[in-house]
């Protein structure tokens, strides 16, 4: 190797070092409290992988605030989907100076919102939780994934898409998410002219679903809305319902479709309606994300990744708009940010319901299990006036 070439390489390495040093000087730490083990881990792992990729793209451009260039660095903590664990990891993050938090699951997010509000930490939750998370007393708390609110869009659509459905029964886990989902879904179903014929809760992670399924079948509903039921519980519940002779429709969301079909069995799963689930990419942006995942992790693609994809970009947009890294200022900017994301125009709204615009509104994709696989069914616009 010649001296000139060595010198050239040395300059190159020095340049890389300078660039790395420059980028590391201005970082925004994003703490993520997500389930990386336990029954809810599939959603947590999907979240981690998706957020990491979103931040790669955001950080490639950087966030310019005046003369400074910022990057966002995510730190992932396992909350095991256990509220006590979630409180512990969030307290640790806050002690370490984290001022931006993403939290998964309402049972994990609600117990920390008062702490994050007091510390002026901007909390973004992929969770239900309604007014327990989005209310005027929590001005720095945003819900970045429509959850129970999807019912505002889905029930009017059901009314026209499946006019034969009249009687609806609701089945949810007996926790914060389940109670919230049930309360909203019953209210919205009734508002749209459906008759609520039953409402049942079960212990999340139950092994045997026959008892609750027997009760559900006894209501003779046309549709069973599983609301906040997630993970293995969905497959076991669907399987039990079909084994007990239920032949009506089943509606559920937050699904890992492959696991669901594996557990329930293709015959039992057939015809299940999946809300806020995009089984197949429809737009170029959706196809980009899909292709990246398949290239990096291989099939199957978890459709949950679509739901997680946009919020890191919305956060970056809000920081750019605020021209500040102060969470209080960013929260104000976030509330008025309109972002063109993977589901078209997205914005924080629902002031009419929660008293301030802190809940993400956007199009809701619908899918259906056909031939043992999820397939795209429709995209529902967010209803006007909500």
């Amino acid at each position: 190797m010649t001296i000139a070439r060595r010198g050239f390489l040395a300059l190159g390495f020095a340049g890389m070092g300078l660039r790395a040093g420059w980028a590391a000087d201005k970082t925004i730490i994003l703490g993520c409290s997500i389930p990386l083990s336990g029954p809810a881990a599939p959603t947590g792992i999907t979240t981690q992988r998706t957020v990491e990729h979103a931040l790669e793209l955001i950080n490639a451009k950087g966030i310019e605030i005046g003369p400074d260039r910022y990057t966002i660095v995510a730190e992932f903590y396992d909350n095991k989907y256990i509220p006590a664990e979630a409180v512990t990891v969030v307290e640790k993050m806050m002690a370490d100076g984290v001022r931006y938090l993403f939290s998964s699951g309402s049972g994990n997010s609600v117990p920390v919102v008062e702490k994050t509000t007091a510390a002026k930490v901007l909390q973004m939750s992929g969770a239900s939780g309604k007014g327990h998370l989005t209310a005027p007393q929590f001005p720095y708390s945003f819900r970045v994934q429509p959850t129970n609110e999807t019912a505002y869009a889905v029930y009017p659509w059901l009314k026209t898409a499946y006019p034969e459905i009249k009687r609806v029964a609701h089945m949810n886990p007996s926790d914060e998410a389940g109670f919230t989902e049930s309360e909203d879904r019953r209210m919205i179903a009734e508002r749209n002219g459906f008759t609520n014929v039953g409402n049942e809760y079960f212990k999340r992670g139950s092994t045997d679903m026959y008892p609750v399924a027997t009760r559900m079948v006894g209501f003779t509903p046309d549709l069973i809305d599983m609301g906040g039921t997630i993970g293995r519980d969905q497959g076991l519940a669907c399987k039990a319902l079909r084994e007990l002779g239920y032949q009506g429709k089943i509606l559920q969301g937050y699904s890992d479709a492959k696991s669901f079909v594996d557990i329930a069995g293709p015959d039992a799963a057939e015809g299940t309606l999946l809300f806020d689930t995009l089984a197949e990419p429809q737009t170029p942006e959706q196809k980009d994300l899909y292709n990246w995942w398949i290239a990096k992790y291989g099939p199957p693609f978890p459709s949950y990744a679509f739901l997680v994809w946009d919020w890191p970009f919305i956060l970056a947009s809000a920081i750019r708009k605020a021209q500040s890294v102060d969470p209080v200022v960013v929260a104000g900017a976030m509330r008025t940010t309109v972002y063109h994301g993977i589901f078209g125009e997205e914005r924080f709204g629902m002031k009419s319901v929660y008293g301030l615009d802190s809940s993400l509104t956007r199009q809701i994709p619908m899918s259906i299990i056909k031939g043992g696989k999820p397939s795209y069914l429709a995209t529902i616009d967010w209803p006007a006036g909500v």
Partner: protein
Amino acid sequence: MTSTLLIQIVLSGLVTGLIYMLIALGVTLLFGIMRVVNFVHGELVMLSAFAIWYIGVDQGLPMWVAIPAAIVVAAGIAVLCQKLLFKPLQYDILNCFIVGIGASFAIRSASWAIFGPEPQAIPAMIPGVVRLGGVFMAKQRLLAAAVCVVLAIALYVFLHFTRPGKAMRAVEQDREAALLMGINPENVYVTAFIISAALAAVGGAMLGSVFGVDPEMGSEPLLKSFIIVQIGGMGSIAGTVLAGLFIGVADSVTGTLLGGELAFIIDFAILMLILIVRPRGLFGYDV
């Protein structure tokens, strides 16, 4: 409540109770013979189910290969636990209890890392549903119940009518006297661990095909097993069978009529009542 609903509830409870009973039999067998409360038993159920899933579903080999292979895997792990965990502690009840809890957590955590978070499923060996009037039951559940009944009978026959079984009962009744009769208790212990693991493996096959497979799948059945064993009486096969059926039906009745949340509360209430009135359980003896 209609008679059809009543039959449905009782039948569902009996079938579930039989699966729990099979797992509980493994727990009570070890306790009866060596006074070891084996907390690793739930993880043996889980690891067996994963072994069956891997061999029978992922690798596509027939179930008659997968299930015996899972029994071998479970027996191997059980014997390792016996040699490395329980024997060095001289089968002390409290120490084994604590070490068992630790080992259980360790195995479960490792399983999350090894098998990943996505739940898996063992397809029904007999798909479809039986319908009798208004009563429905999955054929796979009926198969699981039948297997559990056959194994419970086989265990009874083994313990009462074979030489190794009689040796086990001799060690259970009086270890020193059994030694004088030329029975090696260590060999009996190994045999007991292998039989217990085999019961866990078959339980894993049945649970996995009915309820799915994931690293947490052994936890709830193990907790139910302890309740069943306590109610039936530690070390009593007959007590375990009766308590398993009783808890299965009680869960089904409570869960269906009052809601699933109350099932565990009722189970513990029954357990507490029995422990107060008859501390040794229905058919147990003083420890």
